[in-house]
Every structure is written in C-alpha cells, then in structure tokens.
C-alpha cells in the first residue's frame, strides 16, 4: 500500500527540536514513574511494622444493613480454595499504602490464601484495567482500595455477571451495597474531621485563622474529612475562621507547594488542618523554609504515620488523628464469613486512635 520513497530529508531544526523535547517529556514521565517504584521498595523496610495495632470495629458507628450470599448471588466458598485479588490505588511511597498492602499480603499468607495484587500508581484508568485483569486471572473475591468513588461501572458489571464479591477498603465505591459490592471497610471520615477540629480548637484555644489542605478531589475521604471539620468548628468554636482551602492531592509535594502559597497570602495563619500526614509533613517543610519556628503554626493531620507522630514529639505538629490502614484481618474475616453464607455488615467502621503531645512519645511505636 503505502511506500516511503528512498530518501529522507535531513531533519529541519524546528520539528527535530519538538521531537527531542517530546521524547524528553516522555522519558521524564517514564523515569518519574520508575522512581516512585524504587522509593516504595526502599521504604518497604520501614513500613508495615509488626508492632502496629490491629483494626478494631466500632460497633456503634457501623450501619445496620447486612449482606448475605443469597442476596448478593453466587455460590459459597472456602477462602483457602479461592483466589483473591487485591487492587491498590496509590503508589506505595505513602506509608499508609505500604502498610495497607503489607497487611493484606501478610493476612493472606497467614491464612494460606492465594492472593494476586496490582497497584494502579494513582492512575484511575490503570486501576480499572488492573481489576479486570485480576478477574481474567481468575480472582473469585476482590478486595479493592478504590482511587475514585465513581466510574466503576465496567468493573461492577463484570463482577456482577460472574458473581464475584467485592470488598472495598479505605475509600468507598458509590453504588448499592449488596448489589454492586458486599461491604465497605473503613474509618468514619466525618468523625476523623470532627476529632481533627477538636484538636485544632484545643491548640488555638478557640480563636484564630485556619487553613485547610484538602485531599484529592473525587472521593469520599476528602469530602467527609472536610464536612466533619467544618461542622465541629462552626458548632464549637465560632472564634475560628477557615480562611484558606486548597487541594494538596494527598501528596507531600502537594502539601508543601500549597503551604508555600499559603504563607505568601496569609503570613499570619494560626493553624493548618492537613487531611493526611503526607500533606502535613509537606506543610512542615514549607513553614520551615519560610522561616517559621516549630509550634508557631498549629498543624493537625490525619493518618498516624511514624514520621508525623515524630513531628509531634519534635513540636512541629500539634496532633494526628489516626486512620488505621491495617485492613488485612478484617477484610479476610469479612470474605470468610460471606463465603460461609453468614451475614456481613455492608458498612464496617473501624475505631481510630489519636496522637497528641501528651501521648506521642509513648505511642510512637504504634505508628506506621
């Protein structure tokens, strides 16, 4: 059909330059991804420590609805006979993610369950593909840590067609419980927001201007941690004003760059509520760079990573509300009961602890 003539023009400078630049851009993206992976494996030694506290269910916070095999459809199974697929959402450069994956892997090993895993590296298209790949590879039970709450239609359809039970952990999938998925296991994020507000009120004595570093858009964690915080501040501390809200995308770099902008526009800010530790640590770096002293700005964060709790000891962070990522035991327990035909709650809410200057030092070993 087509055939290129034998000669080729010597490349003219302009397109060649564009070509080189584009190639460089592609390579940059590629190396950036490769680096994330290296970081994850380097961090791996530190994260997922065995000393961590297992998740405990909060009976009071959980919903009343339950789901059984009969309602969901499909046949009963013994967990040791089936293959379980786990899809992780974000790159494991975040301690929360390392600990979460490690907890699932450890629990599977302990129970002798055949587990296959994938990591979407914060790419939602990739996560949809990942989960479909897990099903192609014969996963009969799915544990998903969703990156985004919406957009799961192709996965939910396929899983429903094959009667594959789905358990979502840490973030929710928007859909009908016991129809689209079996259960959601996670923290009460509204409550986390409220408790963060309590710590902020305590730190500022109920007076001052506060900035909020929001998490990534499009998932329930960000909206609920915001909702709880605002609600409690409005109800309990009319003297505190939220003067700045911007997304740091749950990343350290995001938290740092947003805080850099913050100290430019609001140099006298009294408190920062970071919706996860990574952003909070980024904020510390930014404040440090702007010449602030530790304790000058009260920072409250959510997660409970070792580094953040260490910052409480050092005086940079005032308080951390825990969000326990050790989902392994509860997720497999839910899958086991479900396979045996028992009732499983469609919303399993875990209790979270909190770190503040009074307990940070002694509780440090429990942080992840």
């Amino acid at each position: 059909m087509q055939h290129d003539p034998q000669e080729t023009e010597p490349r003219r400078p302009r397109p060649a330059l564009a070509a080189a630049a584009a190639a460089a851009a592609v390579l940059l993206a590629v190396t950036a991804c490769a680096r994330t992976e290296e970081d994850a494996s380097e961090d791996d030694g530190g994260g997922g420590g065995g000393e961590g506290q297992e998740q405990v269910l909060d009976e009071a916070a959980a919903g009343d609805e339950t789901c059984t095999l009969d309602e969901y459809g499909g046949e009963g199974f013994d967990l040791t006979d089936v293959r379980v697929g786990f899809s992780q959402s974000e790159a494991e450069s975040n301690p929360f993610r390392i600990t979460e994956t490690q907890s699932i892997v450890d629990e599977a090993e302990e129970r002798g369950v055949d587990l296959i895993t994938s990591n979407a590296q914060s790419d939602f298209a990739q996560q949809i593909n990942d989960v479909q790949d897990l099903m192609s590879q014969g996963a009969e039970v799915l544990i998903i840590a969703p990156l985004n709450s919406d957009g799961w239609k192709p996965v939910l359809d396929e899983a429903a067609a094959e009667d594959i039970p789905i358990i979502t952990v840490d973030r929710a999938i928007n859909g009908t419980a016991c129809e689209d998925f079996v259960t959601f296991i996670g923290s009460d994020f509204v409550e986390q927001g409220r408790r963060a507000a309590d710590q902020m009120i305590d730190a500022l004595d109920g007076e001052g201007e506060v900035a909020v570093l929001l998490g990534a858009a499009g998932n329930n964690v960000t909206t609920e941690r915001t909702e709880g915080f605002q609600e409690r501040i409005e109800a309990e501390a009319p003297g505190i004003e939220i003067v700045f809200e911007q997304s740091g995308d749950f990343t350290r770099e995001g938290g740092q760059s947003v805080t850099e902008q913050l100290v430019q526009s609001e140099p006298d800010i009294d408190g920062i509520y970071a919706q996860n530790d990574e952003m909070g640590i980024g904020a510390v770096t930014a404040l440090n760079g702007a010449g602030k002293e530790s304790g000058e700005v009260s920072i409250v964060t959510v997660d409970g990573t070792e580094e953040a709790v260490q910052h409480i000891v050092d005086g940079w962070i005032h308080g951390v509300v825990e969000s326990n990522p050790r989902f392994g035991p509860l997720a497999f327990e839910a899958a086991e009961s479900f396979g045996a035909g028992e009732e499983v709650g469609t919303e399993l809410i875990i209790t979270d602890r909190a770190y503040d200057p009074s307990n940070a030092e002694e509780e440090l070993p429990h942080a992840y």
């Binding site: 290129d4 939602f124 949809i128 239609k153």
Partner: protein, 334 residues
Amino acid sequence: MSTVTERVPGPGSESSRGVPVRELLQRHGALLVLAVVLVAAGVGLDGFLTAGNLNHVAVGSAFLAILALGMTFVIVTGGIDLSVGTNFALGGVLAAWASQYGSLAALALPLAVCGAIGLLNGVLIARARLAPFITTLATMLGAWGLMLSVSDEGNTTYLVPDGAVLTSLVHGRLFGVIGYPLLLVLVLFVIGGIALSRTGWGQNVYAVGGDERSAALMGVPVARTKTAVYTVSGLCAGAAGVLNAFWLGSGVTIFGIGIELQAISAVVIGGTLLSGGYGFVSGSFVGVMLLAVIQNIINTISGLTSAFQEVVSGVFLIVVVLAQSRLSRSRPRA
C-alpha cells in the same frame, strides 16, 4: 531535492522494487513485536489468549487508540498535540454532564468544545505560527482549568443516568464477544487510514510534514492542512471522552493527565517519525495494542508491580526511537 509528490507514499511508487528490509522493519516492526509477544504470552500464560481477556485489553485501550489516531495526523505534519489528555478529560466530564439532556447532547457538546479547542490549536499554530509544543501545552492547561471549573474543582462527579442509549451501545458486544468500542475504533482507524493514504488531503498532510516550504511552493494549503489536523485531534479527544464517560458511567475528574504521552509513545512505537512526513495510522493502532498487551502481561505475572509497565514501555520507546534514527540514517538520499 525531491519533489513533494515523490515523497508521498503511493502504491505505484517507483521505489517499491525490492522493498528494503529496513523499510519493512520501520513499517511493520511493531506488528512483528506484537505478534511475538502475543504468541509468547499465549504459550507461557494461562488464560491470556481467551476471548474475554483479549476483548478487555482491546476495549480498555479503545480510548487511547482514538487519541493516538488524532495524534498520528498531527505528528505526520511534524507537530505535537499535548492537549489531548486534558481535552479528553474535559470531554468526559462534559459528556457526563450533558447526558442528563440525552445521548445526542452528550455526544454533541464534548465534540463541539473539544473540536473548538483543537481548532484553536490549529489556528494559533498555522496562522499565528506559534510552536506546537508551547501552544498545545497552553491549551492543555486551559482544558484542565475548564474541566475543573465545570466540575467544581473536581469535587462534582456527574453521573450518566441509567438507561441512556449510548450506555447500552458502549457496553454492548457483537456476537457476545467483541465489544462495540473496539469496533468503533476499527471503523475510525479504517476511515483515518483511507483519509491519510488515499486522499488528496492525506497527501497534503504528508507534504506539510515532509517539507513545509516546498509544500507551500507546490501550492499545498499548509495553514489549512495544519488547522485541520489539530481540529481532528481535538475531535478525537472529544469522542474518546464521550466513550469514556459512558463506559465508566460517570464523568471521572481524575482522568487524562499524562495520557497524551502514552498516545505519543504509541504513535512513535507504531513507526511514525516524530520529525514528520512519515507515518501511518495502522502502526499507531499496533502501538496502542502493544502497550496495552504489555500492561496486561505484567499484571498477569505476579510478583511484578505495575510500575514495571512504565519501565518496559520506556525501554521499548528508546529501542524504537534508536532503531528509527538508524533506519532513516541508512536510507540513501536521492
């Protein structure tokens, strides 16, 4: 110096006598690799060569394929379009928002807006003579901003109502096996292939990429051709966005950043030269499939994290670009 018409690939080209190996490699190298990879994976991995798995690999990469199709035209003219990723995201959000007014609106609005952004790219590049890299970088940011403002900073995810006509089409399968998105991709690629290789417009695209000045001297409407390819690229991004919105059932806002680089990689792996003047749409389709299959295989081999996919794709790209520069250097000049 050769004339423009000579460098335009055509069936009757004189140089088709004894097609050199390097030419075949440039044209079909990616296809060869894809075939080898498919056979190796089929032999080595259980459940890989099943209709279900292959279908989901193909359907899952349908969006990327449509972006790569538009990108092929742009790259053949010697340009680049970095705006397709965020334009695609914007298209998806607009489609999901407009779906409340029916499938026709969900189709028309994203195509109009994304096409307009493509047109803007084209006009700025062709008429105002701005560099494609910078121009499309600017519209990439612009489209992202527009998407954020439409979706309340990404906080609002518009849902496609149940029972929309397009939803059943997008999720349907021919004979229960081949997903309709794949068929759509094939149809678009056949149309694109014919447009590029068999029409006067296609010849203009090659001519502009080969040597813009000579093309202009030959009376090729350079500015109009360039404007057209960027508009087509924008339309492709819009179409991919619509497809994606109905595929996912919602206007997901965390989509599309970086996908333009995947589209560029796929086009280059498919044998199209980034310097312009040479390329074909079938190669881009093969490039997309190759990237998707590699990802699928890496997911299947347990123990390899998906980060490896980026590494493998990156290595692959370097090999292809190296091979291309060797091949084009060894081609004798007339």
